[in-house]
Symmetry: D2
Subunit: 332 residues, 4 copies
Amino acid sequence: MNHIGRLFQLSIYGESHGGAVGVVVDGIKPGIKLDKEDFNKDLTRRKSGSIGTTPRIEPDDVIIDSGVFNGYTTGAPISLRFLNTNTKSKDYSNLVKHPRPSHADYVANVKYDGFNDYRGGGHFSGRLTLGIVSAGVIAKKMLEGVEFKTTITNLGGETDKSKFQDILKKCVDDNDSVGGIIEVRVNNLPVGLGEPYFDSCESVISHLLFSIGGIKGVEFGIGFDGVDLYGSSYNDMIIDNTGKCKTNNNGGINGGITNGNEMVIRVAVKPTPSIGKPQDTFNFEHNMIEELKIEGRHDAAIILRAMVVVENAIAIGLADLKLINDALKKNV
Amino acid sequence: MNHIGRLFQLSIYGESHGGAVGVVVDGIKPGIKLDKEDFNKDLTRRKSGSIGTTPRIEPDDVIIDSGVFNGYTTGAPISLRFLNTNTKSKDYSNLVKHPRPSHADYVANVKYDGFNDYRGGGHFSGRLTLGIVSAGVIAKKMLEGVEFKTTITNLGGETDKSKFQDILKKCVDDNDSVGGIIEVRVNNLPVGLGEPYFDSCESVISHLLFSIGGIKGVEFGIGFDGVDLYGSSYNDMIIDNTGKCKTNNNGGINGGITNGNEMVIRVAVKPTPSIGKPQDTFNFEHNMIEELKIEGRHDAAIILRAMVVVENAIAIGLADLKLINDALKKNV
Amino acid sequence: MNHIGRLFQLSIYGESHGGAVGVVVDGIKPGIKLDKEDFNKDLTRRKSGSIGTTPRIEPDDVIIDSGVFNGYTTGAPISLRFLNTNTKSKDYSNLVKHPRPSHADYVANVKYDGFNDYRGGGHFSGRLTLGIVSAGVIAKKMLEGVEFKTTITNLGGETDKSKFQDILKKCVDDNDSVGGIIEVRVNNLPVGLGEPYFDSCESVISHLLFSIGGIKGVEFGIGFDGVDLYGSSYNDMIIDNTGKCKTNNNGGINGGITNGNEMVIRVAVKPTPSIGKPQDTFNFEHNMIEELKIEGRHDAAIILRAMVVVENAIAIGLADLKLINDALKKNV
Amino acid sequence: MNHIGRLFQLSIYGESHGGAVGVVVDGIKPGIKLDKEDFNKDLTRRKSGSIGTTPRIEPDDVIIDSGVFNGYTTGAPISLRFLNTNTKSKDYSNLVKHPRPSHADYVANVKYDGFNDYRGGGHFSGRLTLGIVSAGVIAKKMLEGVEFKTTITNLGGETDKSKFQDILKKCVDDNDSVGGIIEVRVNNLPVGLGEPYFDSCESVISHLLFSIGGIKGVEFGIGFDGVDLYGSSYNDMIIDNTGKCKTNNNGGINGGITNGNEMVIRVAVKPTPSIGKPQDTFNFEHNMIEELKIEGRHDAAIILRAMVVVENAIAIGLADLKLINDALKKNV
């Protein structure tokens, strides 16, 4: 349930207000240069700080408990851990009686019969994505030469990037939030990653992406817009002996397998469900609809911090598919 | 790679022109009434026949090799097999030299170093979906009371269903093809299906859906259109003590777990890549771009036959999640 | 449950008196020469016929439904199927009321609430081992150069092989049965197969071996007899730079990983539980102990036919471990 | 590789001289009372201290990083961690050049191309069993009412327990070591745990047991000694309508499934490979056989500390099988 991967494997754990969140990563080749500093860039990208992100600042220093020796991976599992240092001891029990809409509060309470750690979202907290980001750093090291370009192509319905700051400012002012679309373009992938049927590139990558809170849509290549095209326009004609295509409506994947063209993935991120604006929603203690005012300040646009999470989730899937493909290649 | 599921499990095999295609289904409760006739309805829905579908007619009678005794499931794996009877012995080797665009021909040839069975798409053939459809019939039996409604909401960019026949006819006349959007609505699901992180409803279901050839997008609830909404509009306010919501932008899933509201899933199906229209694409033997004319007749709109495949893939995921949820419930 | 393997994977299905038994094998490299004749040798070794084996003769011709094209593996899953042709239509329902001791009859009836196929042992039948044997044939092809030597070192307590025929004859005459010990020696394995912790050679191999009916003990190297030795005698001193050891008490495995010396595995096979001799055991219909006389003739020494099953189960485990080790090797 | 389990899952990590060793446990029902004190009993049983055990004393206090809230399990994964506090900073690099016989030193160096953490056995250290012991504590909580009795039935070839102290003393005096046989008897198991074929009780349990360092044999019931019996003596006659048997040669398991009788498991533990006595073994730097003198003091009989590891590994397997069996029971 909190584990994924066939060879390159992750086990995620933690809660927002517990001792730590972390991930155990397995299936790592030995001899890869790796130290704490390698995580800084992506962890910083995930951090809050800019307009539209929560002011809860945690140092988020990675603690490497195993699997690295003398600056190189050993081949044994790497345990990566992050302390929860900024856990305010306020009372969250009202979230059980008066669950936040669009959050996991209600379903978690039912599913776990009231035993779930509800503080700050508990195991459903966005802090769990620290594990994805840091495991993704290792995955990228396994994908030498592969390049990721990640952008926001739509924020709150707006596609003109020059207007994004205005939208964020308006959200903060209104105690509201926005979602948007993240696009990841992956280059320098070989032909052949992805396995027929259940380990197709799209299957493995979407599985990882949809485990990230707030992701409600995933598409490859032209995706949903492809419905406007007839087959004769949609089909990507091959134009040279490397498999390069004239168009890239398939987003670099045919039959679930990379075709050597740019991989294109877009994900829909819903607006941050926690907003400062009061909302009318059910209070299970009072058995009636009541206004809920969520205290504290929150990310007006979690999408800003989700960019690196999405990118690294994709890297994790590709690292696993690369190992599988390497293992099953014809003997020469 | 051709296996999926934690408890309710599938192993898929077969090629378009081999002896048979089939699936081994495991993790089935004993004592479920099941016989060959139970498969007819969904297998018929998958069959070609209507306008826009291929005239290759196979009887597609299911052969049950194991796991059913005296009309009931035994608890042992059920092997379901379909003979390939309509395999014309024509020469397909040109697909290796002159691969069809948007198909797996090229990537399969590279990945398997030329050893793949290329006849009729081989292991990448749509015939493999017989396994998904028939396993889904069993999955639905494990989901007593759950209801599926599956429709096409968009065909070739058109959303007015009264015009669908015209579009299909035009495609057939033009030797072209169209894609579209399939929407599945699932009702009567309990609260609590889906596990945190990697076994979220969206993860498990998208994994299955993206293993179906031609699916290039999956979204839940309002999906990609949700980017136009601010959080205050997007959030689904709970209105009673059963968890019922005023809106359903989250499509019945919060934090990866069913919330008791209708589950809503939409998938983008690309236009059938095989079209009669000539296409300019690379010929690897002649090392130049040449016109490719795909012989025979094909589905102008594979989406028509994909409806039941999509629906049953979803049922398979839900059946597995139900077993997991049942197993991990608090002891009473 | 009926599936195993990380990359080289098996899904087993079938019952003694159903339509067929079989296995779907996945994770096979493309380009391996394979045809029906390749299975004959090992299938013949599994067949009954010699003294001490059942006279139920089935042709046991393998049917290859997928994954092989033009005499070579394609990289897609291979479905191997065996028809059940010799299923006498006698009444087996007495086994439900009066279960055979040391058989699965009683536990299957409880576990599956009476819905299990009880005819001839159903899913627990030894016929299921056809899948292990035939999958093992493919595994051996993935293990080029590796050699297996399999012998019976103990039959009914006797270790002098010249007396085995007498023991078998006595068993047949007495309507009784014997067990024994099978020893497999594997040579030409590289150093490095097996993964730390849960994918140790011993773990993976014992898991497969104990899935075979009637196996009640597995040991590696000197095994249980090693308790008589002090560490200074037990330890295998390395004597050259290839890792060759003076002794081989560890049976070619250290820390779960092959060390390049001969792998030595022994398994204890219990006496065939079905015997002609009358036995006093509980009759659940009459609610009292009653004499049970098992009709028909049976293997007096199933161990004879188990030899190739054991050998091939080991090959299956090693093939998977080889793929994993190949995938996770340091990049050069 | 370092992960196991279908529903009740473990991910193990750590090295002897790294920051910590630990385990992430998933698939735990919510609402189980659990706190740090629950681990003390079994962790103490694993500790060194008595004659024959190493004097390296670590506090081995468990740190619970997640999954427990207000003294109860939440349903989320539980991360259990143990600090490595007693890691002397001596030079272990000689183990690379002059590997200890019967240890993983040599194979790890080859497999990981020299990048493995060789200090104190690294990832192959017995400290990793802290994860098994502590996960087993949780497993036992999932197995309410089930009872485990674990004894040493053979120490260094001796079965008279009154002589065990003499053997241990002699080993310590001689700088040598002994192995032996651990027997675990499990009572109050229901009929029906274990799945056909690859999830048989014996398969799942042996897989876990053989992942423990130094285990070289596993047998169930009468095990290897059963070869001396004819079928008519071996078969366990059922004597009442609860399935109770007159004898228990099958050790409580038929067809891989519990039959309600006592489960009996024995494992062969090899003598601790690290001994103080000098040993002649290969020095890869000098390319010749040389005397190796292993510094420090070691467990003369690791079997003493292995008892609780073996017991808890069995509990882990049974907890997983119980969840699976619960999930797949016929609906009532």
